[in-house]
């Protein structure tokens, strides 16, 4: 067997590819050939490593040295020093911003060190396009056990005991879901995978599909055995071309090895999987809409009951689980339910993956045990807020979720505690918001999204969100009137109670949570016609506050229409005749002296 003394794992996830990691990989390979090291050094393109903010990233094993923000020009030095002479290149390493020290090894970087990888256990360590890499990490051993040694009842028993809950948003018990479908009568049943990740800012499912596609196939096969399905579909959005192509490769490899298809591993069990590409409608993440879309019709939800476990795809008993849920299944079968539920809280077992983004230093993908305080994720793993700004809120759960204010930063992240704040766990989107953001505007942003994505089938969602959005637009434009907040609250209750599906039932959440925690900002907009965060353009006076102005002149230099008069040692002055209200000066001023 060929042995390579150095393995260079270059991240080829979507984030790093966007920052040109493929050019870095090409330059690396050229240098390796130049130094005649092709026989000793193995270069692998992996799925998402998780530390997207530092991309393009690379890890060199066996030392485990982490390199970041790489350019093709860095490769000659990296090869000549590290790969040829065993001398790691310090200038390309990660610097801890707090201690101002370079941290050579990946596992010593707090972003990685504090994570607990289960659903992401193969990220960045295997070649996503090689089934052998997956097998070397005990891949398909869980399927072997489930098909040869376990009855459907035993599989479902393990799943129920593990306490695994759906990672797509609603958090329903996976074992119960499987049990309903297993008990449903019918010759033909289906096992589906929901890869229609629609929340703005969420990218954990894409990451798993890109980095470890086989784990989803393995999880689906186990589910199929549990409920008695022989056909599965993965519904994945067409905007994820890399995920789709890696899935295709994985499916064909699994078929070749007899791990999908007829008589899997000689067990007599048949199961195959097809990919269905969705066009990216947010509502198709809802289970009944997804199934309608799979049937070739316009993706719209339908009332439940009947539940999909009894009448789902083509009116046959069907289960639908999210990508991350399936990624948790093989290790549960392999290591047992007790191993899984050792981590987590009373009602939320295991780990959860979060896509941490927004006003935070370490943007990326984070997997932590359920119950980890929000503070740990934001400050210890996420590295805090950039530009010396203050944290204002954390938006969780996407358009269906809500804003958790800074005062609740010690909330443990589990289903129950997050629901108590008015937000939801959702699929794990976590958008960090700093003091420069206006909370009314944030609520407006999310409502614009749900309003746009509402399928139009039921009136409360179609019309209700439109009326709410109009009120929010008025408030932000300085046309709010007394009683608007109460109207928003009234409408929210009706929309939540009367909408047909989850989209409408949760759409008011961002509005309700911002009213609950940031009522003063709504009142300032409505009564005083002021936007305290200086964000809503219509409410900004575009005047320099002389007490705060440090006379640095940065605003004058940044103004694209030269509307700002400034001389050394003088407070700046904005000429409103020339000013186009573009807000460049506000973004530039380090002292927030423009109001």
């Amino acid at each position: 067997m060929k042995y390579y003394r150095s393995h260079v794992l270059v991240c080829a996830g979507t984030g790093c590819v966007a920052s040109k990691s493929l050019a870095v990989k090409r330059a690396l390979q050229e240098e390796i050939v130049k130094h005649n090291l092709g026989d000793e050094v193995l270069v692998v393109g992996t799925g998402c490593n998780g530390f997207c903010a530092a991309g393009p990233v690379m890890v060199v094993y066996p030392e485990g040295i982490f390199y970041q923000r790489l350019k093709p020009e860095d490769m000659p030095q990296l090869v000549a020093e590290h790969l040829l002479q065993g001398r790691p290149v310090e200038r390309l390493m990660f610097t801890d911003p707090a201690r101002k020290k370079t941290v050579p090894r990946m596992h010593d970087i707090s972003f990685f060190g504090l994570q607990e990888l289960r659903a992401l256990r193969n990220r960045g360590i295997i070649d996503a396009e090689k089934i052998e890499d997956y097998i070397a990490r005990s891949g398909y051993f869980a399927v072997a056990r489930a098909l040869m040694e376990m009855t459907p009842e035993q599989i479902i028993g393990q799943m129920k005991e593990s306490g695994l809950r759906g990672r797509g948003g609603a958090g329903f018990s996976t074992g119960m879901k499987w049990e309903f479908a297993a008990k449903a009568r019918g010759e033909i049943k289906y096992a589906l995978c929901n890869g229609d990740e629609g929340d703005p800012g969420a990218f954990m499912d894409r990451s798993i599909l890109e980095a470890d596609p086989h784990v989803v196939l393995e999880g689906m096969t186990i589910a199929a055995k549990a409920i008695g399905a022989h056909q599965g579909y993965i519904y994945v959005r067409a905007e994820y071309p890399l995920a789709v192509s890696r899935l295709r490769i994985a499916i064909s490899q699994a078929r070749e090895y007899g791990l999908l298809g007829t008589d899997i591993m000689g067990s007599g069990f048949d199961f195959d999987v097809e990919i269905y590409q969705g066009a990216g409608a947010f509502v198709c993440g809802e289970e009944t809409a997804l199934m309608t879309s799979l049937e070739g019709k316009r993706g719209m939800p339908r009332p439940r009951p009947p539940f999909p476990a009894h009448q789902g795809l083509w009116k046959k008993p069907t289960i639908l689980n999210n990508v991350e849920t399936y990624a948790n299944v093989p290790p549960i079968i392999l290591n047992g339910a007790a191993w899984f539920n050792r981590l987590g809280t009373e009602g939320s077992k295991g780990t959860k993956v979060f896509a941490v983004t927004g006003a935070i230093n370490n943007i990326g993908l984070v997997e932590v045990p359920m119950g980890t305080p929000l503070r740990t994720i934001i400050y210890d793993i996420g590295g805090g807020i950039p530009n010396r700004r203050k944290l204002k809120a954390v938006q969780m759960g996407g358009p269906s979720g809500g804003c958790i204010p800074e005062s609740l930063i010690d909330t443990p992240v589990d289903y129950e505690s997050i629901t108590k704040t008015g937000a939801i766990m959702g699929s794990g989107g976590m958008v960090v918001i700093d003091e420069t953001a206006c909370m009314v505007n944030i609520a407006k942003f999310f409502l614009e999204f749900t309003q746009d994505e509402s399928c139009g089938k039921c009136t409360p969602c179609r019309t209700g969100t439109k009326v709410m959005l109009d009120i929010l637009k008025n408030i932000c434009a300085g046309k709010g009137t007394e009683g608007d907040v109460e109207t928003l609250e009234d409408l929210s209750v009706t929309i939540k109670n009367a909408s047909l599906c989850g989209l409408g039932q949760t759409a008011p959440n961002p509005v309700l949570t911002t009213i609950r925690y940031f009522r003063d900002e709504y009142d300032a907009h409505i009564r005083d016609k002021i936007c305290p965060a200086v964000s809503c353009t219509d409410l900004i006076k575009f005047e320099v506050v002389s007490d705060l102005c440090k006379k640095c002149g940065k605003c004058a230099k940044a103004c694209p229409v030269m509307a700002i008069k400034w001389e050394k040692g003088q407070v700046a002055f904005i000429d409103k005749q020339i000013c186009t209200r573009c807000k460049t000066c506000i973004a530039t001023c380090p002292f927030r002296a423009i109001a």
């Binding site: 003394r5 066996p62 002479q85 065993g86 072997a144 007899g258 591993m265």
Partner: protein, 125 residues
């Protein structure tokens, strides 16, 4: 490609175990060839390649052969350090292709430290 059954799966996993050992640090032993300019000049590369050939020929998957920079004992190059489990690392000096093979078989595989090739610890000789 052969259809998988339990045995085939196990065999495939074994065959690719070396891959994972290099990346996860799960190997039983680690053999480090010091590759500073001094080491390379003294012939560290042929030593490294000889060790890799031994590993491949014997299909060993639980030992990692790798490189590191100058060990600070330039007069003794090529220098090879062997880390076996929790034992104290052993530093060998003036290693040739021939003695590299001997170290690999006797020490890494057999567990017997070769005293005649070992540098006395701390003296740098």
């Amino acid at each position: 490609m052969a259809r998988m059954n339990r045995e085939e799966l196990e065999k495939t996993k074994q065959r690719h175990q070396a891959l994972i050992n290099v990346r996860e640090g799960t190997a039983r032993a680690r053999v480090v060839v010091h590759m500073g300019p001094c080491g390379i000049a003294a012939g560290a590369r042929p030593v490294l390649l000889a060790l890799i050939r031994e590993l491949e020929a014997r299909d060993i998957s639980d030992v990692v052969v790798t490189i590191s920079d100058c060990a600070g004992q330039c007069s003794q190059e090529p220098v090879v350090t062997v880390y076996c489990g929790a034992e104290q690392p052993v530093v060998y000096a003036k290693v040739s292709e021939e003695t590299a093979r001997e170290i690999f078989i006797q020490h890494v595989l057999g567990g017997k430290v070769l005293d005649r090739l070992k540098i006395e610890e701390g003296t740098g000789r």
